[in-house]
Amino acid sequence: MIEIKQITGRAIPVVGNDIDTDRIIPARFLRCVTFDGLGEHAFEDDRKQLTAQGKTHAFDEARFKGASVLIVNSNFGCGSSREHAPQAIAKWGIKAIVGVSYSEIFFGNCVAMGLPCLRVAVADGEAIQAAVSKDPSLQVSVDVDKLEVRAGSQVWKAQMGDGHRKQFLTGQWDATAELVAGVEQVKATAKKLPYLSAFA
């Protein structure tokens, strides 16, 4: 079990509310039987479109290369349940996400992958994005234990549900072993379900 307590590294901002998983990884890249190679295609269409407009997506900016903390805004990862989205982000090099809110399924996928997503206030999310845009060399610490995000002398309060926080801190984010351990109770629960017993 790998305990995840704190991630420290340079950060990259991806600005915008409601960034859906089709934008994080377009569906054509889901034609695969492994998650290998998805990292290079993260945000591919958004990146290309900005390039065509003479602008640059953060994932294409040299100054953010090697970042391990992603800073986003609200309802990040909405839409499709594709785990390919957080897998693409993780394979690009991201080890923690800080944002205002996440879609439920995206968040659940991240937990199962060991990728902590902390929530911060709207203004704090924008402030962290501004700080790392101004100084991409800034070391940002995402502290799952203390529930705070730190950079230089600044500290922002963060949130995560108790159960999920405990999963990261104890290494039980990979729930499979624990779920398998409950097999006898699982069988007992199945027996009580009318549709698997009484009228199956």
Binding site: G16, R28, N73, G79, E178
Partner: protein, 475 residues
């Protein structure tokens, strides 16, 4: 006296235990599998040497990558073919039922499970697909999961989850002519936003939903996820039971009455306590069309594209991005926006009642598909196709210039040959108008009901289906 919601009852019944983390271990009664989100899960089972203890609780089909025109194997797309081979082998190796093309039972996963009677009230339902919320129409707690969670369900038939809050969405009254279940959910999304439901299960209650058929209820619950609610449900009633009776996997003979008695008992109690309640009136709902890049960007077909000032300030950047991407301006009427492609199908609106209504309004209109529009109709399942053809709907569509295809997800997400090209605008009966969703990175999607898509195809532009219905009513 109990005062619990259906969600509370189903959740409690399926809770195996509290995990050391404080999360709940929840039993999954029906697990559906498709070719896109499952191969890595099976690979991980092999890697970890895990078995599948409840293979009878899973069912698989293929839908996302299946071509809707030429279905001959091997597929022209080698990657798609590889996924077909993988799901076949995975289901064989682990003893899981797989409904393949040609079996008569293949189709979009959220269409076939209800159609076969697999989805039943009081179940927990999970699938590696966000539109699993569809199955809530039966009074099931149904939600989408990712691939690691698909692995967990395969390996243990359970998930580690935290309990959701429950919001009742009460809608009362009769829908006006030309207003469909799709308009109801697009209206709710517009009012509660794409993120308003995060952390909630939505219970859809009130006379508007009670009057709906199961297929209409599925359309509503299907898009609960577009409002951020991981699941949406409607309490089971006689309409639910009538739909299920006689279906292949539904309880039979003496078991039927036992099942109905239990299904009735799991509905929310009359005095159930909700974490939140929102109330709307059916009479306020118009045929709705999305103009932007999120399913909550909807307007009535008689309205204009809203000014950014009508949204919260932190949404302004997204709204401006939507104007730019869609090449539409605030104040511009949505009616009259030209379309290039018309698509009727998907897990939202690819059922037989959707096709019947589309055929009805096409006949009332009487015209042909506009010369500059490519229009195609994709039945949600092989079974839907059989019924549609028996009723002659295919002939109506073809006679009016629509293409008639085979079952699959098609252009809802364009993981198959059905795709928008360049900046094309589609009128689509699907569920998502995200940037690039329909296969072209710059393609644009206008979501609407199947009847509205049909009329848009004939007129070549967004048009009010009520014009056609009213003219016919007067004639």
């Amino acid at each position: 006296m109990s005062s619990r919601t259906l969600f509370d009852k189903v959740w409690d019944l399926h809770t195996v235990r509290t995990l050391p983390s404080g999360q709940s271990q929840v039993f999954i009664g029906l697990h559906m599998i498709h070719e896109v989100t499952s191969p890595q899960a099976f690979a991980d089972l092999r890697l970890k040497g895990l078995k599948v203890p409840f293979p009878e609780c899973s069912v698989a089909t293929v839908d996302h990558i299946v071509p809707t025109e030429n279905q001959a194997r091997p597929y022209a797309d080698g990657l798609a073919e590889e996924m077909m081979v993988a799901i076949d082998k995975n289901c064989r190796d682990y003893g899981i039922r797989l409904f393949q093309p040609g079996s008569g039972k293949q189709g979009v996963v959220h269409i076939i499970a209800p159609e076969q009677g697999l989805t039943q009230p009081g179940m927990t339902v999970a699938c590696g697909d966000s539109h699993t919320s569809t199955h809530g129409a039966f009074g099931a707690i149904a939600f989408g999961i990712g691939t690691s969670q698909v692995r967990d369900v395969l390996a243990t038939q359970t998930l580690s989850m935290s309990r959701l809050k429950v919001r009742k969405i009460q809608v009362d009254g009769a829908l006006k002519s030309g207003v469909y279940a799709k308009d109801v959910i697009l209206y709710i999304l517009r009012k509660l936003s794409a993120k308003g439901g995060v952390g909630f299960a939505y219970e859809f209650a009130g006379s508007t939903f009670s009057a709906m058929s199961m297929e209409e209820r599925m359309t509503v619950c299907n898009m609960a996820i577009e409002g951020g609610a991981r699941c949406g449900y409607i309490n089971p009633d006689q309409i639910t039971f009538d739909y299920l009776k006689g279906r292949e996997y539904a309880p039979k003979a003496a078991n039927w009455d036992k099942a109905v008695a239990w299904w009735k008992s799991i509905a929310s109690d009359a005095d159930a306590v909700f974490d939140d309640v929102k109330t709307f009136k059916a009479e306020d709902i118009e045929p709705t069309v999305t103009w932007g890049i999120s399913p909550d960007h909807g307007v009535g077909v008689g309205e204009s594209i809203p000014a950014k000032e009508s949204f919260a300030k932190d949404e302004w950047a997204t709204i401006e991005e939507a104007y730019q991407y869609m090449d539409l301006k605030a104040g511009q009427p949505i009616a009259g926006v030209a379309i290039d492609v018309a698509f009727i199908g998907s897990c939202t609106n690819g059922r037989i009642s959707d096709l019947r209504e589309a055929a009805r309004v096409i006949k009332l209109h009487g015209g042909k598909v506009n010369a500059r529009v490519k229009a195609f109709i994709v039945p949600g399942s092989e079974a839907v196709k059989v019924v549609a053809e028996a009723e002659g709907l295919d002939k109506v569509f073809i006679a009016h210039g629509f293409e008639w295809r085979n079952a699959g997800c098609s252009m809802c997400l364009a993981m198959n040959p059905d795709k928008l090209q360049g900046r094309q605008v589609s009128a689509s009966s699907s569920n998502r108008n995200f940037k690039g969703r329909q296969g072209s990175p710059s393609g644009r999607t206008l979501l609407m009901s199947p009847a509205m898509v049909a009329i848009a195809a004939l007129e070549g532009k967004v048009s009010d289906v009520r014009t056609v219905l009213n003219k016919a009513a007067k004639a």
